[in-house]
Symmetry: C2
DNA sequence: GAAGAGGCATGCGGGAATAGGATGGCATGG
DNA sequence: CCATGCCATCCTATTCCCGCATGCCTCTTC
């Protein structure tokens, strides 16, 4: 039972005649006759009554017709479903990201994306870097926005953000009274940092090691909001991207200062599977992000006012 | 988008590899590879991620898979539906018949048929002879049981019953006191007969004409039960098949007598479209009827007791 | 790190399936 | 009774598709 045979069958059923159906399908009448004969033999039943003038469906033909119609609809629907996905008129795109990214970057990106592509569902999943990479490789997500560096031969990395990390304390801490703070001063401070193993933490650790500052880490967590709460309540200082506190600087909840001498940066980039096939949704997300990445550029204010 | 392609696609999706799918389908791997490539080109999208080790569905592939599965189910169902129809494990058979036939013959036949083929629906339609023939030609019914003669080149006629028509009166009428009644005696009687144009009526009319009896028809109807009611209430006599009153002879509601001299008969037969294709349901109905037609043979009792 | 193995893609040649054209049979309608 | 319309069938040409061999890539193993 072939798609082409079912098409011929449906056309004949509609036209009530082999010849008319053949004309509509731009094939010869003999082809129609032969294919329908084959179909009838395969099903072991007559599908049409041959009356001298045209043909009429048998009961079995009627059964087949309803099935054939449903099948045709099914096929047509899946084709248009796929083609709409290509045109971004619908679809689903799953993006993974670390906690910070999911809190401060993806919401804005997704809002802008959805404004343009209303029927495309976007799903955001968060997890550790290893976790997100795993999902990427399992094709559970198409795209991830992660803290670099990430080195993997099967992944494509597109760096997009370079944020300077600053020292943050509670509002009144003397450590951040000046515009810059000396690295050594950090050694005397209890520090609340990102969890070990995270790329952001690695940047900090390398910096402290390089500067020869003994670290006094009293707490680590993956969640930047928890870090901020801890810091705000005076438990210690932290080193995080400025973007994480940008909105709260004016309120005086936090004090901050750049590092004197060796500045440190956290780099963020898109991560996706290396493949010659890139869904349009993916490239559109990249494009939209590119058009708004100045918002996230992590420009530090010229002064601390 | 071909049935075979969809089959390959589903198999590959299940196996997660072209080679394994090819083995399961007993075709070469290259065939699978090529057909899926064609399918992907037709849909304009990648259906599988080619990872070095096997393949994985893309989102579009997942869409297609659900559709392909539904289509496969649809096809399988219509095939088994048709094959069950052939084996009379289900199906529908429409039978047409005149009023008398529908009242006295078809119920018994259908009961016996259904006892054997529980899942086959039988539908009985009634109407005038012309009406039933029309439905037969429109393929609304497959089979009809009608009063003969019927002459039509496109129809096949199978005579099955020959019923003697008898004179019937109300219980106490002197006309039917004897075992036989003379034709001329009918001329003095008001008659209630089948409607003009019916084959049964034709038989009666011809008889009366042949015998030179002036007919005094006071009422005609297509419905034998109406005739019986009229006759029972003493309005007149009638000439109907014995079978129509067989069950009511003992109650004394009716009196009856055979015609003296020229007996008249009503012949009944199956009517169906001439065709080399005969559904099994039709031949089974004919067979079942044949096995029980002695019940309808219209054997008159030896005596009027 | 080089070689081997497993798996998909692709060019080539042969064969099966299918289309088209012509013709015949059948029924219909004037 | 002939003309017409329609389906079935035969024959031939072609298209399509398969299998084979091979290439390329990835992953594994020594």
């Amino acid at each position: 039972m072939d798609t082409r045979q079912l098409d011929m069958f449906r056309t004949v059923a509609e036209e009530g005649a082999f010849t008319a159906a053949a004309q509509r399908l731009h094939i010869s009448q003999s082809a129609v006759s032969r294919q329908l004969k084959l179909l009838e033999e395969e099903l072991g039943t007559l599908l049409f009554h041959r009356t001298g003038r045209g043909v009429t469906l048998t009961r079995e033909g009627e059964m087949l017709l309803t099935a054939a119609n449903r099948i045709a609809v099914e096929m047509q629907e899946v084709v248009s479903q796929i083609s709409e996905t290509k045109e971004l008129r619908r679809g689903l795109l799953s993006i993974g990201g670390g906690m910070t990214v999911c809190l401060y970057i993806l919401p804005k990106l997704l809002r802008k994306f959805r404004a343009q592509y209303k029927e495309v569902d976007l799903r955001v999943t968060t997890g550790t870097t290893a976790n997100v990479l795993q999902m990427l490789r399992n094709r559970e997500i198409e795209l991830a926005l992660l803290t670099l560096p990430i080195i993997a031969a099967d992944l494509e990395i597109i760096p997009v953000l370079k944020e300077e990390m600053v020292v943050v304390t509670a509002g009144k801490n003397p450590l951040t009274r000046e515009r810059t703070v000396d690295a050594r001063a950090l050694g005397r401070q209890p520090l609340i940092l990102f969890e070990s193993g995270s790329n952001t933490r690695k940047v900090v650790d390398e910096f402290l090691l390089r500067e020869g500052v003994p670290s006094n880490v009293i707490m680590e967590t993956e969640n930047v909001e928890i870090i901020k709460t801890m810091v705000a309540s005076g438990l210690g200082a932290t080193i995080i991207p400025f973007a994480a506190i940008a909105h709260e600087v004016k309120s005086g909840r936090f004090g901050w200062a750049r590092l004197r001498g060796g500045r440190i940066y956290r780099e963020t980039g898109w991560v996706l599977m290396k493949s010659d096939y890139q869904p349009r949704a993916v490239s559109e997300v990249l494009r939209v992000f590119d058009s708004m990445k100045h918002q996230f550029a992590g420009q530090l204010p010229a002064s601390k006012g």
